[in-house]
Symmetry: C2
Subunit: 179 residues, 2 copies
């Protein structure tokens, strides 16, 4: 056939929007993605592809120093570790702000007094689906999840997953698909 002949099967694809018919110059892929491409992109997103570096402090750091550390590192959540660098607690900007307007001296109170502890820490693993992790952030009303690696002794912290990471994933979905 000539390049401009409309074959019945291609006609179907043209009607379905897969191909643009350009008389004389043949058929060209129109640039539309296959059916489930964005869907599949979303399903394949993993925590490890979007996580940030974790910022940790020791249990005995003072609340004042933790606040300064948070600003220096420019993060919204600090993870508290023991001497074996295993996860012991989580400190959010909200926890620190609450304490800062209390009557206690920020320079003497250690973070382990105010941090969220196990079993109340919400966490994820690096191979978890980003969708599942996003649901944890919303359902448990936290800004950040420690990304952990489980060992016999406890949780090692390998990352930090925040609503900022999810927002970046949302944008990257749009950019991948040229929205």
């Amino acid at each position: 056939m000539t390049r401009a002949t409309l074959r019945p099967d291609l006609a179907i694809l043209t009607m379905a929007g897969f191909l643009d018919a350009r008389p004389r110059v043949g058929y060209f892929y129109s640039g539309k993605k296959t059916m489930t491409s964005v869907t599949e992109s979303m399903m394949n997103l993993k925590v490890k592809d979007f996580q940030s570096l974790p910022v940790v402090v020791s249990e005995n750091m003072t609340v004042y120093d933790a606040i300064v550390h948070m600003f220096l590192e420019d993060v919204g959540t600090l993870f508290v570790v023991d001497e074996n660098t295993l996860l012991q607690g989580v400190l959010s900007r909200k926890d620190l702000l609450r304490t800062s307007i209390g009557s206690q001296d920020l320079n003497t109170i250690p973070v382990h007094i105010i941090m969220t502890r196990m079993p109340n820490i919400v966490y994820c693993k690096k191979t978890d689906s980003l969708i599942v992790a996003a649901k944890k952030l919303i359902e448990r009303q936290v800004d950040s999840l420690p990304v952990v690696h489980e060992t016999d002794k406890g949780f090692e912290i390998v990352g930090r997953l925040t609503k900022t990471n999810i927002t970046k994933a949302f944008i990257s979905l749009a950019e991948t698909h040229d929205l």
Copy 2:
């Protein structure tokens, strides 16, 4: 034709995954979404569909009272308005935390001293694309955007768009498409 006859045009659709051929009982829509459904879903998401209610305070409220107000309202950002309820400033949890560890008395310093003012306020409108608003949150490194309605006198605040809203949108995309 009989219901089980494979018409050439339907055969193409079957190959393309649009239809399942079930001999003797005819063709059924397979449940797969059309090509660009998730893509289109994303493009059609608007700020107004995901925004939260704004929480506003007056310019003369003290920093201490603003922090308490932030906890009572359970938000991460307060918008500061003048006597005509027009947008004058934005107060983030980070702004308040920074001030709380300073040497100033939180009970005497008014929020207008520490707030972010125009032209440094990043905002959006309710008919804006959610993708564009998400990019603003990331590029300008803010947790929240006031959703504004522009008038001759200034900006009225009609909503609040946060990374939490974007995270919910991300989840809803997945849920709409049964991921």
